[in-house]
Symmetry: C2
Subunit: 224 residues, 2 copies
DNA sequence: TAGATTGTTAATCGATTAACAATC
DNA sequence: TAGATTGTTAATCGATTAACAATC
């Protein structure tokens, strides 16, 4: 359904799977298109996008080829349509329900963040072990006892968990989440969790980016 | 200094540069080692780490070969030493000073986050354009008028900026930061900013991870 | 010695880049 | 038509995996 061109019979289903590097770049193209649209540009070309986001134009073209999107030679894409198709493709137009596990610093920040909703993720509740937090509200959302998580998942059929517990509890909490029927874990802990291979995990450790940043700085400054 | 083995004269400086994928994995090994250390394990092997973080052991070994770290055959590494060396290598033991530009939702969350300090990043102030924010304190840090940024950078010699402004101002603010003497930008906006090539940029758009997550979910559920 | 480990070298795989055909 | 663009196919590059030598 989402695959664009004809498919050779012998090619496996891998054909449909868009590579992760491409997938990571698509939101940049979308973001650029949105900014252009706000500035009144009705048409947008892949070469223009390439310049705007500083990525090789052939790569942009290749990335976009994974999407069911028809560009017009010499003209490019209609900005509005480009945005709509890309947003739908990336799942940003859906409403994916989720809950936060571990209502600490980062957990409550995510519960407060309004941006998530605009990108298709709706946080419905928080879970914690702390007696002082349980029963309180954060950003208008209830914080429940983690012991009630399994029945919550069953009842509301919410299968995306946002994991923001301390590192030492990351793996055990992850195991517990899987046991409760969670299918997708957005992992913000510093630990790389192990899960059965039918579970989708997205590791988003902010601090890991610092490692890359500091190392690049060190390289430029001649390893002082 | 940080390179481990002998170097062939003809190999370029690229030899020293650790590839980004490796750099991204190192914090996972560190985190795993820390958890093990807390559990009282004095020795740790790369094969053990490989199992713990679910990454091929040869890959772990190769990643670690970039670091000046001596393992002992049949035994592995001393956990404490492993942690120390890796933390130093990744720059987590230094204190890198920085400031937040755009004290909104995400910006103030980062100003509040205590984790950053543990990983070597110290936030010293916030900057914004909003009259209602300027002059207030967030997490004990002053919020200044963005017009005063240039003199602030000069005076305190703080060259790392955390960019958390709305998407439409991302590129122009980035240009302004470079003009003010900023050398490193941690970019949390949805926009991929363009900078001169002596400037280090780390793009950390949380929402991009949602794209990967949603697409993987879609693939598993058969593209409904 | 046998076995477990580090850590290197060669083979494979996949992503990016380059070249170019097709289109308007 | 000439030129700008989409979008594909082939060549290159780099990262991962596999095989294995060295060590204790």
């Amino acid at each position: 359904m989402s695959k664009s061109k004809r498919i050779d019979g012998n090619k496996k289903t891998k054909e449909n799977i868009i590579p992760e590097p491409s997938l990571r770049r698509l939101p940049w193209y979308l973001s650029y298109a949105k900014v252009m649209y706000e500035q009144g540009k009705d048409q947008i070309s892949s070469t223009q996008i390439a310049k705007g986001v500083d990525i090789d134009s052939a790569l942009v073209a290749k990335d976009l080829s994974h999407i069911d999107l028809q560009g017009r030679t010499r003209v490019g894409y209609k900005t509005k349509q480009f945005i709509d198709v890309l947003e739908r493709f990336l799942g940003f137009t859906n409403s994916h329900k989720s809950f936060v596990v571990g209502v600490g610093n980062l957990g409550s920040a995510l519960m407060n963040d309004k941006g998530l909703k605009q990108f298709g993720l709706e946080v419905e509740a928080g879970f914690d072990v702390s007696e002082t937090l349980i029963g309180t509200e954060v950003a208008g959302l209830m914080v429940y006892n983690i012991d009630t998580l399994k029945s919550f998942v069953k009842k509301h059929n919410i299968t995306i968990a946002i994991l923001t517990v301390p590192a030492k509890y990351a793996q055990s909490t992850s195991d517990f989440l899987v046991e409760c029927g969670v299918k997708t874990i957005w992992n913000f802990t510093t630990v790389r969790i192990r899960v059965p291979n039918n579970i989708v995990v997205q590791n988003t450790c902010l601090y890991a980016h610092l490692a890359v940043m500091f190392t690049r700085i060190k390289e430029i400054n001649g390893d002082v």
